[in-house]
């Protein structure tokens, strides 16, 4: 059996699709736990510091309850991340073979961030009686920092895929490699900031939603009011700055990947005074986006700070390089969710400035509860914009995804297995966490199977 035995063309195309789907599903799964791994330690540390300062036992109970959830979620994050490290090779060996030497550096740095995270998380979770309180908090802070750092490093690698530099190509071989130049692409700036803020925002609102739900069932419960307070204190600033950072991200995309911007916005024609489209269905045959609400000149303004600036449309680029249409929908959904979270936070912040506390009404709690999944959903859609918007390139304008994919036939099998695995894991995680929430501190004991 020859690895590169001439496979029918169609089988190869399908294989590419399966490989991309599997990569996307795995990343989409991992990113949720990664975001939680970045932000949850910060929540725990804040609560623990509050305990040390006020000696209010509520905060201690809250810290321990959060720590349990974090232990579960970080373990899943570590496992799914390990899968990704291998999958880069298993699915896209052509990519790793050339890119490994260029962007292995951030991954290696990330390795040390993982070490720090894993070491200190062990001390944090099991060391309550073994290290002094100050050192315990320090271990928690180290976990929080290491989580953020690992995100910084891995996004550096992703930014290079979007804006590759630090090498030359000679006869299909990467030469003159400068790994440092490669890992400092300007594209990373907005990606890193936007993603870190997204992690704090999405995790915070998810946690807030859980406590809002408990508060709806047990109004006024002091522990959960405190929990909601801490979580919202993380959400509010993040949600308020995120649209501004997103605007900066658009400007960066406009500058470095005009085709992606055009696809995001459903902009087919190259024109001055381009409108911002809300909703709308991009029609590739007719080369226009139908049924959109158009705000004249706004796209030119948002992208280049000038209403009369010329925005390049997709028609300027060869059609075989157009990314899929979903980019447009994903972008719209991310922005929609971002704006919803923004307004929720403005409401909470206004109330807090006026009365020094969060709104107490059930309406507010309901809004928080319903907004819970929006942050994570925005992260997913944001990554779809970035990754699918980069297609058909795995390394932007350097290597096509089709050149990177593995010659391994039958990729449908691992795809199905991993989908089933992720579905099963998601159900299990939700069930385990749900049962944890049901025994949350300060609640009357639930009539469960445990007697």
């Amino acid at each position: 059996m020859q690895a590169r035995a001439s496979m029918p063309y169609l089988a190869l195309v399908d294989n590419l699709l399966f490989a991309r789907t599997q990569m996307g599903v795995s990343l989409g799964f991992h990113i949720i736990f990664a975001a939680i791994g970045i932000a949850m330690p910060l929540l725990m540390v804040i609560s623990e510091v509050a305990w040390l300062r006020t000696k209010d036992p509520d905060y201690l109970e809250l810290t321990k309850a959060w720590a349990k959830g974090t232990a579960i979620l970080i373990a899943i994050g570590a496992a799914s991340g390990t899968v990704l490290s291998f999958e880069l090779g298993l699915l896209f060996p052509g990519f790793m073979r050339h890119a490994g030497a260029v962007i292995g550096m951030p991954f290696s740095l990330e390795g040390f961030a993982f070490f720090a995270e894993a070491i200190f998380v062990g001390i944090y979770l099991y060391g309550w009686n073994r290290v002094r309180p100050a050192l315990h908090v320090a271990a928690g802070i180290a976990v929080a920092l290491a989580g953020a750092l690992s995100a910084v490093f891995v996004i550096t690698a992703n930014a290079w895929m979007n804006h590759p530099r630090g090498f030359r190509i000679e006869d299909g071989v990467f030469v003159d490699i400068d790994p440092w130049h490669a890992m400092t692409t300007p594209f990373g700036v907005h990606q890193i900031i936007h993603m870190l803020v997204a992690a704090y925002l999405a995790t915070g609102i998810l946690v807030a939603a859980i406590h809002a739900w408990i508060l709806l069932r047990h109004p006024g419960n002091p522990i959960h009011r405190k929990a909601l307070g801490i979580a919202m204190a993380m959400v509010i600033p993040a949600a308020i700055v995120q649209p501004a950072i997103g605007d900066f991200a658009s400007k960066q995309v406009a500058r470095y990947q005009p085709l992606k911007l055009a696809a995001m916005e459903g902009q087919f024609k190259t024109e001055a005074n381009a409108p911002l489209r809300i909703l709308g269905i991009p029609d590739r045959e007719a080369r226009e986006t139908r049924l959109a609400i158009e705000l004249p000149g706004l796209l030119s303004f948002l992208s280049y700070g000038d209403r009369d600036a010329v925005v390049q449309g997709m028609e300027d680029f060869p059609e075989e390089n157009w990314p899929p249409v979903v980019v447009h929908y994903a972008f719209q959904l991310m922005v929609l969710f971002g704006m919803l979270l923004f307004f929720l936070s403005i409401w909470a912040a206004a109330h807090w400035i006026g009365r020094r506390r969060l709104p107490q009404s059930r309406a507010f709690l309901w809004c928080v509860l319903l907004s819970g999944p929006l942050g994570m959903a925005a992260i997913e859609f944001g990554w779809i914009v970035t990754e699918v918007g980069r297609q058909p390139w795995v390394i932007y304008e350097v290597m096509r995804t089709s050149e990177a994919v593995t010659p391994m036939p039958g990729l449908i099998a691992p795809l199905i297995v991993s989908c089933l695995l992720y579905i099963g894991l998601s159900i299990a995680v939700i069930a385990v966490l749900y049962r944890q929430v049901m025994i949350a501190p300060g609640l009357p004991p639930a009539p469960g199977p445990e007697v």
Binding site: F114, G122, P179, V432, E450
Partner: protein, 341 residues
Amino acid sequence: MAWVMALVILIALILYAILGGADFGAGFWDLFASGPRARRQRDLVALAIGPVWEANHVWLILVVVALFTAFPPAFAVLSIALHVPLALMLLGIVARASSYVFRNYDVAGDVVQQRWGNVFAYASAATPILLGIVVGAISSGAIRVDPERGFEVLTGFFAPWVRIFPFAVGFFALSLFAFLAAVYLIRETHDPELQEDFRLRALIAQGGVVVFALIAALTSRLGAHEEFHVRLLGSWWSWLFFAAACVVAAITTLLVVRRRYALARIFAAGEVAVVVAGWGFAHQPFLIAPDVTIENAAAPAATLRLLIIVLAVGALTLFPSLYWLYRVFKREPIFEELRRD
């Protein structure tokens, strides 16, 4: 510089074996928890690996990232030729990690906890076998590539690993890890009965190590590449490592028999280290015998130089933190302390 990186990868692999390997071995003993103390044996396993398994696991990630940064074609070749066992191993890793935390934190009651425990035990047993299969396939010389044509893989997706030798190495790895874990676990409790349980298990596992080492040695000839086989057993220092492994194994066994557990812990780790190091040295100058070598797969010098600097600086922060971790948890068993909670 490529040689430095090869050495670094080997060291990381050794550390993964003596630290992460033991965590898998401990999970294996969950499978064979038996007798009146079965429940306590399982709890001991769970609490012993609790604080450290995530950190120990990162060594594997370091091996992978160092491999694809320093020797990108080698990583690409392995990913293609050993796609199937690697994918299965990942499945095992995910199942082990998630069932472990579910087992510890799910409050659905004993039955559900038992079920997670079973998944944890089976995954812990299967993963080292798959790891061993991968290692065995790499050493057997059965993966052929054409370095002239962009390291195109010439052999199939099953042929290099579906043979006796890789499986023998797989079971050898499992017994080695099980042995290591049993020796470590003795020191994880003050309870003399539990200590005796794991002493017995350590001795049985050591027997398994010897048996599978013999089988692997006898089958290594089957289908292995000629030149490589000569190297694996033919050069003077492969014999040196072989002799060292035998001596250390004998001493470890003696220490366990005579209940000198503190020393036994060190020697057991030494036994595994010598085995992995011997394997690594017998390999050079190959990464994947016989076509991929340290020289022809190395990344450009600029990458290697920066990588070595990064690893050196990283090590400066890593080792003190690791030292703290083990000092906090491995000097005094945490089992009795946490079980009371």
